[in-house]
Amino acid sequence: MGAYLVRRLIHLIPTFLGATFLAFLILQLAPGDFLTRWALDPKIRPETIALMRHNFGLDRPVLVQYLIWLKNLLHGDLGHSFMYQQPVLEVIWPRILNSLILVGLSIVFLYLIGIPVGVYQALRPYTPGDYAISFLAYFGIAIPNFFFMLILIYLLVQFKFAHGWTPFPIGGMTSQGFDHLPPWRQLLDVLWHAVLPAFVVVTADMSSLTRVMRGLVMEVLGQDYIRTARAKGLPQRVVLYKHALRNAIIPVIATIGGLLPTLISGAGLVEVVANWPGMTPLLLDAINQQDLYVNTGIIALSTFLLIVGNILGDLLLAVVDPRIRYG
């Protein structure tokens, strides 16, 4: 087990280098750079742009830029944002935290709702309840998140017109005057803002999880050892939770590690539409503006977390499934 871990961690290095260098290269292959846009500003002299390009190090060969970036990375420095004129980590850190809240809450929804609903369906297959949930699940998979969020915002605006108040806020992460609230009210306020977008973010995943869980549990329930357990006279609860679910859930656990990078990479366009100050709006800005080091910083962090997440997923698998051994 220990040797396996070490080997995996050593594998991490070339993967990380390859991924970040590729990202660096592709970002630089795009025509122009952060300063190209400035060239169309009639107020800025070309000399100034040349000077800035030099100051930003953008006039050096890509490989040299990458090596310098790598060297700084070893000192824990992800580089400097052109847009913000600040260290990249300082720029993305608050956004990571914000995205974490949203994605964290959505993962809670995912498992808290997805698993029980899937099990419920598996126990009562081909009933009206099963069909109704399946219909909703297909709807959830099909509808694009950002569009679903837009519909909800539209409904909230109409609700506000009709009643003068709204059950959920229309976008944002905190209420006005947030800074003057006591900590527990702040927490409630953020959660109140997060509920709707978190639910929207997870609709597709939740829908597919219920489908997967339904299939897995149904499959396991048809196996011989379950029949044996039932024949022994074990109560349904024990059969289901101790024998069936533990086996059925293994493939789901294997995917948990993959969630790690999504935790920081943000909730996608829902963040833009719901006006949630997470990673996605920042990343979109950075891509539009060709803010090189913010882009590479985000890619480097996600790559790292993806690799670590996969390792964690494999280890978790060994914990829940005694048949799996790493050597």
Binding site: A30, P31, G32, D33, T36, R37, A39, L40, D41, P42, K43, I44, R45, P46, T48, L51, M52, N55, M83, Y84, Q85, Q86, E90, P94, R95, N98, L150, I153, Y154, L156, V157, K160, F161, T166, I170, G171, G172, M173, T174, Q176, F178, D179, V272, V273, A274, N275, P277, G278, P281, L282, D285, Q290
Partner: protein
Amino acid sequence: MKKAIIGTLALTLALASAALAQAFTWPASWTTAKPGEAKRGGTFVEATISDFRTMNPFLSAEADSIPDRMTLNGIGLVTRDPTTGKWIPYMATSWKVSKDQTEITFKIRRGMKWSDGKPITADDWIMTYRIHMDPKVGSNLRDSFFIGDKVVKVEKIDDYTLRFVYPKPDAEAFAIASYSPWPAHVFGPVYEKQGADGIKKMWGLNEDPGKIVTWGPFVVASYRPGERVVFKRNPYFGEWNKDAAGNPLPYLDAYQVNIVKDTNAELAAFLTGEIDQMNPTTVEQIAQIKKAINAGKLDATLKVNASPIASSQFVVFNWNKKSDPFKERLFRSAKFRKAMSHLINRKAVVEVVYGGLGTPMYGSVYPVLTQWINKDAPKYPYDPEAAKKLLAELGFTKKDAEGYLVDEQGRRLEFNLATNAGNKQREEIAKLFVDEAKKVGVKINFRPIDFNTLVGQLLSKGPDRPFDAIIIGLRGGGLDWPFGSNVVPCRGNLHMWNRSGTCLDPRETLMQYYYYKGRTTLDFDQRVKIGYKLQEVEGELLPIVYIAGPNYHTAWNNRIGGWHPDKIISSIWRSGELPLLYRAK
């Protein structure tokens, strides 16, 4: 409302010698509120689409940054009177221009204080200037202190007198002098000790707001990344800024800007009253606001088509095509470009591209700058017959088998047209142009390409540049001399049609002559006359074929009062002055 500005000369001069704090009185003509009507207190909330980058005035690069918002859009000694467009004293009380017009001496208003209570003196302007000028800081304002290659100097005469020394008389002398001062007692010690690096580390977005100091009406109270910035009233501002009734300004306790990354979300926020003001840009947004107002769900005021916006869309043809002499000769011909202008159906562009909410353009001066527009300059409006006639004069009289015009040697009238992919408005303009051209037998191959590639082609230099024609736009530019310093002169890097480095057409040389003549004329009315002449030559040469631009619309929630009277609501002066806004309901 973002643009916010100030003052009356007569009143301030009268008060100048008297009081300890020489007050600036905000004229009653800048607001719809009657004197004494405005109440104190409350918050005004607006939205912005792009997150803030920094609180540091020496690093901020974009309009409506936090430093801009704290200083009424970066004004200082002087400001513009929106009712006349002329410069008036603001943080100065008066000025004197030297005989050769290369020196302006400003008397600084006495009794002004920073938001931390320290006095504002000449040293603040000097230190601010020094830091902006340090190339290692990388300030965006540095270039504004250059006239050509020469630097404008700022000198301290005494604590309350400043002298600006210009290399030559300049149209933008007052614009240059209007830069906003920042506290020398805050930035000075850091700059002396740590230089540019020290300055760059200051006032980032994670700075403690308690350390932010400004002279303006509001100072940062809190910032939440990607969410909002809240400003609170600077109590010292009211000591020298009064309304027409003598009350201290601003009226509001606080001013808040929400960061809303999505225009749908912004509209939702305005419709539900979460923000007090917005500038709708599309027909759909305007329709939604109108509907909500008419249904009695939203108590707001909507001003549609208040003015054109200072931005333009145009076609530029490449004069430097050594490898293709046929096209080069064509693109260098004014007749050809006039024919192309006759083929652009600007009315259709306004209808289709801007949903009827736009203004046609025929020259480089934005239509919103009404006092600058020479109505008698030549125009070439939509007229396919006139286009045919001009093309026939160029030798394109016959058509080939596919119906396209050819010259004597059988060469087809055909060229490529590019714009940046993803810009729907420009793509629509291009399609309209292609269709109209096809009708008279001109073949245009339209292909949208990546923005940065496009800019690269546009800015390329030399005798052989890699494009035929490009549709692109520019925005911004001066109110003092609305011709681009790097567009009109033949060596400018935005002299997009001809980047051979020299003037190729005598009319280019003449335009360049008028450009510099106007640029070095300090007197406004004289300058306008030179601008008129420049536009006449421009109309003859037509180096760029202008198409149209969008209009400015604005809407505000009626719980906020004190907005501009209708005649000064425009994309230049915007909808109101921040210090004059008040909570009406």
